[in-house]
């Protein structure tokens, strides 16, 4: 996993609640055995019509959002299936930060494991940025170390993130390697419980 300390980028506002992982990456793309190359299928049926042409009315297709790397979304982002293809698609497309009032549990975990920063923020704060990003280009500067987001209007917002998640993101730590350091404890547990 690639480490991430700070990220400054253009915001794409997806003003919808309960965006499920079937919308983020539809099932027909889950048959691949690779981890990469899912970006072109992100939000597939929202971005493309039945003939594969871009839908002009879907925000992400608009020229203004072409370089977006920060996604703003409504409540319960990433609900539904456990498919890690969802964060793979978001990351491959170019998103490094997702900000929403709430996330589905499995998606939140999956995002963290792939070096995406999922930031939970109060809806009232988000609404303002959502509106701004809909009206004109909004750039946010996300400082993970300092747990703050700064917008171009010198508006600064603090966010919470569990310390151990933060540490893993900051250092791009390999969770399996960390666990394997405790292998003796795992062995002892198995022995004691006859597993």
């Amino acid at each position: 996993m690639e480490a991430i300390q700070e990220h400054k980028g253009l915001v794409y506002p997806l003003n919808r609640t309960n965006v499920d992982t079937d919308q983020i990456i539809p099932k027909q793309f889950l048959k691949r055995i690779e981890r990469t190359g899912f970006g072109k299928f992100l939000f597939y049926h929202w971005r493309f019509d039945d003939d594969g042409n871009e839908r002009a009315d879907f925000g992400l297709n608009k020229p203004a959002y072409q370089d977006a790397t920060i996604l703003l979304a409504g409540e319960n982002f990433g609900c539904g299936s456990s498919r890690e293809h969802a964060p793979w698609a978001l990351l491959d497309y170019g998103f490094r930060v997702i900000i929403a009032p709430s996330f589905a549990d499995i998606f939140y975990n999956n995002a963290l494991k792939n070096g995406i920063i999922p930031i939970q923020l109060d809806e009232s704060l988000l609404k303002q940025w959502m509106r701004q990003a809909e009206e004109s280009a909004l750039v946010l500067d996300v400082d993970l170390e300092g747990q703050r987001i700064v917008d171009g209007h010198e508006h600064e917002v603090h966010f919470d993130i569990p310390a151990f998640h933060k540490e893993k993101l900051l250092n791009g730590l390999d969770e399996i390697a960390l666990t394997l350091k405790l292998e003796k404890k795992i062995e002892a547990y198995e022995k004691a419980l006859g597993k």
């Binding site: 499920d20 889950l30 691949r32 055995i33 039945d50 609900c79 456990s82 999956n110 405790l182 795992i186």
Partner: protein
């Protein structure tokens, strides 16, 4: 006396391998279920890092998401075929037992776990699939994980997990005749919303839950994830023990008696404290039909689609109605369907098929409807055939298929066409779930069967053939 504990806390405490302040617990996993779609990248990364599968004997694989449900001799979809071939090779390389497509134990992973007795009370069970919550029906702590976590479990047989909060979903009273476990869980999600379980493990309690069959309990726990909870469970009781006795992977004789006692001791103690409790009265629940694009968008069959003036999130409701091709205030019984799917990890067990068969017996599927039945496992299919259910379905005009996930998510050929409308016994009515542009209405097997005959939704309680 010891402090009263919930079943979640009892299971958790027995599985902590390592604890450190400020960090998640390292938790042991007793059973890791694997399928073809969410595992290839995990095995690949394992090999790249020269790591081995720590406990192949606690791992069990099957193929369910991709598999065709007819003409299985040749898998025409080459990409799907490669994914299945990859699982075969990975299981071979790592000595993992595999119920391959032609194996007698093949089936939907959440159907075969309980059927084989791999699923047992008190176990920690994970799988790269969000409906792993199904196994909670047996008093196991079971939840879905992503592919990175699949890899973590393969390599270490553990997961780093924060101890979840507990949510008591208390169901008072009892369900009326013709009202099923599916209606109960749909009504719960409709009442409390699609995210009320986020961050929690839900425990279902109360008379209505005790009175459900094990299959009904599986249907309820299966959809915990649709309420936001990664896991939902039910304290074990005599029904749990009776169901598991004699299953292939369950010990026999004195060992079973001892195990059964330990299972009963797992039940939540009288007076244990939950982080949150919600209550619903089962007697007030009617058969349900979903109208929108998430499982919370659901009403009683006597109801109608919402009025835009009465809802929060008006834009989302408007979008959902548009996608579904419905108007506001439209009675559910006025909605005509053209597809019926009876299957999925929610409702494809023998009891589900029996109840649906009782409704369609001697009747004919409406000529405008294409209806399919997909048994949850090869074992369920054989049992159904032994009882003649296949004949009942086929004579009524249903297609009778091989087992798999099938039209629940349409990863194989079983899809609903664009703008097609399906009465489905599955768990998700998301946009495009059953096929691009497909419109899904979630219902019980009985309601799906009745809709197949009538060509539109009907209150199954007023339908001839409904078992009392």
């Amino acid at each position: 006396m010891a402090r009263p504990e919930t079943i979640v806390s009892k299971i958790w405490n027995k599985h902590v391998v390592h604890q450190e302040a400020g960090k998640p617990d390292l938790m042991y996993i007793d059973l890791h279920l694997v399928h073809e779609v969410t595992s290839p990248q995990a095995f690949e990364s394992l090999s790249l890092n020269n790591r081995k599968v720590r406990r192949p004997d606690l791992t069990y694989a099957t193929m369910d998401h991709n598999v065709p449900t007819k003409d299985r001799d040749v898998v025409k979809d080459q990409i799907a075929n490669k994914q299945m071939e990859t699982l075969r090779q990975n299981c071979k390389d790592h000595d993992i037992p595999l119920a391959d497509m032609a194996h007698p134990d093949q089936g939907i992973v959440h159907v075969i776990g309980p059927q084989l007795g791999l699923t047992q009370p008190g176990k920690t069970i994970v799988c790269g699939d969000s409906h792993t919550s199904t196994h909670g029906a047996f008093g196991a702590l079971a939840f879905g994980i992503g592919t990175s976590e699949v890899e973590h479990v393969l390599a270490t047989q553990t997961l780093q997990q924060e101890q979840p909060k507990t949510l008591n979903v208390h169901v008072e009273g009892d369900l009326g005749p013709g009202v099923t476990a599916k209606d109960l869980i749909l009504a719960i999600i409709a009442k409390f919303g699609v995210r009320f379980g986020t961050g929690y493990v839900m425990e279902y309690t109360g008379d209505a839950i005790r009175n459900l069959s094990m299959e009904g309990r599986m249907t309820v726990c299966n959809m915990s994830i649709e309420a936001g909870a990664r896991a939902g469970l039910i304290s074990p009781d005599q029904k749990t023990i009776d169901y598991l006795e004699g299953k292939e992977y369950v010990p026999e004789g004195a060992a079973f008696t001892e195990l059964a006692d330990s299972w009963l001791n797992l039940a939540t103690d009288e007076g244990a404290v939950y982080d949150k409790t919600v209550t619903i009265n089962a007697a007030e629940i009617e058969p349900q039909v979903s109208w929108g694009t998430n499982p919370g968008m659901c009403v009683p069959v006597s109801g109608a689609t919402p009025s835009l003036d009465d809802v929060d999130h008006r834009e989302d409701v408007k979008r959902a109605l548009e996608y579904m091709g419905l108007k506001e205030n439209q009675p559910m019984t006025s909605i005509a369907i053209d597809h019926v799917f009876i299957g999925s990890c929610t409702n494809s067990r023998i009891g589900d098929l029996k109840k649906a068969a009782a409704i369609v017996e001697g009747k004919q599927v409406n000529p405008q409807v294409r209806a399919i039945v997909v048994p949850g496992s090869f074992g369920v299919k054989l049992e159904a055939e032994k009882e003649g259910l296949d004949t009942i379905f086929k004579q009524a005009g249903f297609e009778w298929r091989e087992s798999g996930c099938s039209m629940c998510l349409g990863m194989n050929d079983d899809i609903v066409p664009p703008a097609g409308r399906c009465a489905s016994t599955s768990n998700r009515n998301f946009e495009g779930r059953q096929g691009n542009g497909a419109r899904t209405h979630l219902v019980s097997p009985e309601m799906a069967a009745a809709a197949a005959i009538e060509g539109h939704f009907v209150d199954v309680r007023k339908f001839a053939g409904v078992p009392n």
